[in-house]
Symmetry: C2
Subunit: 400 residues, 2 copies
């Protein structure tokens, strides 16, 4: 393992990495640091060629001491699809979608769970707890079942109902709350204090980011180590964006990529856009969004713990932040399905809604290489599609 230590990006306090850690004593999330020079003295990009097509191909960049601890369902190396049918319509010659719907529980949460649960198992965790908008809880409960860890999951009662099934059948303890993920978070915090369970809340442990980082590593490798100009990311807690940006920084540091880093674009819903608001006001942190509501349920996060890391990545790369309306999300949803054949989650559709705006405004140039991050499968959101087919009797004929 090439991890050297954990470090706070705010107060710069260091911690050793073999201790089970949550937040820094200053309250900030901790980041994992590696001996990057040592990594690349041992191997090159070309060494990746023969490796398995999942996120564990990047083992050197991941926080695992003993590979026998790896908890895996074969997740990662998801397709980077060229949206060639859409390209002319949106006047973008190089439009891609990183399709995270093809992961074991149907969302990108599996990357954080695979690496997070692996490391939790390695450091001796027996019970973990987390608040969730549904998908992360379903994913962590699944990986925990394989790892022999008991998962306690608290989600808003409005979270996608399929995620209840996923937690229940994999044997996790499930609780609903009449409220938002922030309300669930408060219940979790009190339970952690009372019972001493491991707190797997977003960014309250350092390893979920490392799993999400592999989205960035994969995009870079799939594009022949020539990263895109723009990456568009639907932002709730923002871990994926932080992770992708961390990947690009690490890759540039070791010389596997060069030049400007991709401009990171935050997409939120106009019904819950705290980070967009902060960006518009040129702030370093967001303030809690009142009465959040959007059909893109996964990004209903009123105040993200890592907001300052998200905003920092946007500022550092000359990116931007865009809010889109639910109606725009639904239009984009249908376009992606009917033109490109992919039934994505509403959060993923939001990235196309944003790109339509950014291409029209000229913020994205027609020849720029643009990657949308579709964070999950439409299968988890049946209520976003209205299907009212006619019903026939066995003897009936089809209309022409």
């Amino acid at each position: 393992m090439y991890v050297t230590h954990l470090q706070c990006p705010k107060c710069e306090e260091r911690y050793e990495s073999e201790r089970l850690m949550q937040l820094c004593k200053c309250g900030s999330p901790l980041l994992v640091h590696y001996d990057l020079e040592k990594i690349v003295s041992g191997f090159t990009k070309d060494d990746l060629a023969g490796r398995q097509a999942n996120l564990w191909r990047y083992l050197e960049f991941l926080p695992v001491r003993d590979p026998s601890n790896i908890v895996s369902f074969g997740e990662g190396m998801t397709p980077l699809l060229r949206l060639d049918n859409l390209s002319p319509e949106v006047s973008l010659a190089n439009l891609y979608m990183k399709d995270e719907s093809i992961l074991p529980t149907g969302t990108f949460k599996d990357r954080g769970a695979a690496v997070g649960v692996t490391r939790a198992k390695e450091l001796g965790v027996k019970v973990l707890i987390m608040p969730t908008n549904g998908n992360a809880g379903a994913s962590w409960a699944s990986y925990s079942a394989k790892a022999g860890i008991h998962a306690v999951i608290v989600m808003p009662e409005d979270a996608p109902s399929i995620t209840r099934c996923e937690v229940a059948i994999t044997g996790g303890s499930l609780f609903l709350v009449k409220g938002t993920i922030s309300d669930a978070g408060k219940i979790v915090r009190r339970a952690v204090e009372k019972f001493g369970w491991f707190d797997a809340s977003t960014l309250k442990e350092p390893y979920r980011i490392e799993g999400k980082k592999t989205i960035g590593l994969e995009i870079a490798e799939q594009l022949g180590w020539k990263p895109p100009d723009v990456i568009i990311y639907p932002t709730g807690g923002g871990v994926g964006l932080i992770g992708i940006h961390k990947a690009m920084r690490e890759l540039r540091q070791i010389g596997w990529i060069c030049g400007k880093l991709p401009r990171m674009v935050v997409v939120q819903s106009t019904g819950c856009a705290p980070i967009v608001r902060a960006w518009e006001q040129k702030k370093q942190e967001s303030t809690p969004w009142e009465n959040p509501h959007t059909l893109a349920y996964g990004i209903t996060v009123p105040k993200a713990l890592g907001d300052f890391l998200v905003l920092n990545a946007v500022y550092e790369t000359a990116g931007c932040a865009v809010a889109v309306r639910d109606e725009e999300i639904l239009v984009a949803h249908r376009i992606l399905a009917s033109r490109e054949g992919r039934f994505v989650c509403p959060e993923g559709a939001a990235t196309l809604a944003a790109v339509l705006k950014l291409a029209e405004s000229g913020w994205i140039q027609p020849d720029e290489k643009v990657v949308l991050v579709n964070t999950g499968s439409g299968l988890k959101y049946p209520e976003t599609v209205r299907a009212e087919p006619p019903t026939l009797m066995p003897g009936d004929d089809l209309p022409g």
Copy 2:
């Protein structure tokens, strides 16, 4: 392309492959034949190493004239998971699950659709129609959308409801029927006669098998070209089983594998087990099952067009056929989720239910290498899981 011709496995009539074909004039499905010697004179197993991790890595074994016609969402090379937590419990040291839930529309139907739609596009199809128990229709509608083909889908009103959404949003024409897939099939047949659309019904075009064949190619490659002793397959139309067996035969013919072919095991539900009944009676074909009903909806096929090919594969490999009760399927479903972390479809769970019987009876020996084929994701079957979590108010505490 190495395809030489199409041939009827019943009357042996040959057809040329560049013509758009449906059934043989004798009413049997047609199979695709290749110049296998020519394929292997050109490349070896080792040449596969650097190829992309999807089913198109086996291009030489697939019926595509011009690779620019390929319609793909990056499907295939799904994980072959070792079920190590379960192994001791079922007294099988080498138990694997080929996890087809990690495909673009969440089921193994994507293999047949990717290859079938690709070839349909290549041969000029503009409109296709099919009866389906849901998942195949969802998959073919998705690939058709990408290919610019119009899909007309007819499914029983009891089919998994999410598949309605998938067809609707990808722009297919969807019809429900108060009846079984056989009733839907009759409606389709009349529509084909009336409108001249391409009939994409199971085995009524020759290319879906070729897509399914890649399950077998992948299993062989993933096990280092040492195929398993037993492959357990949940059987409705049976195309996957036919395809896997065809793969093994082709691989043996070119010398990439040797020795006995895997014993093919048909699993059906006691509520619809026409092929199990035929096997028990040592027949070559099945007779239609009356009043079919099982929660494993995908395998509710009263009479499969390719039953004789399925039975032939079972006889030829000294396999067997097993019927399992719905209650056994539900138990297996929960075991797979809670011990291995995978929320599978009921059809996939049926394979574990079968293996429990076969291991106990001694038909499978403890050290034999066994592969379960999980054909899809539990996400498409929310109604199979009962989740009744307690609901908390924001100020509540968790019970200990």
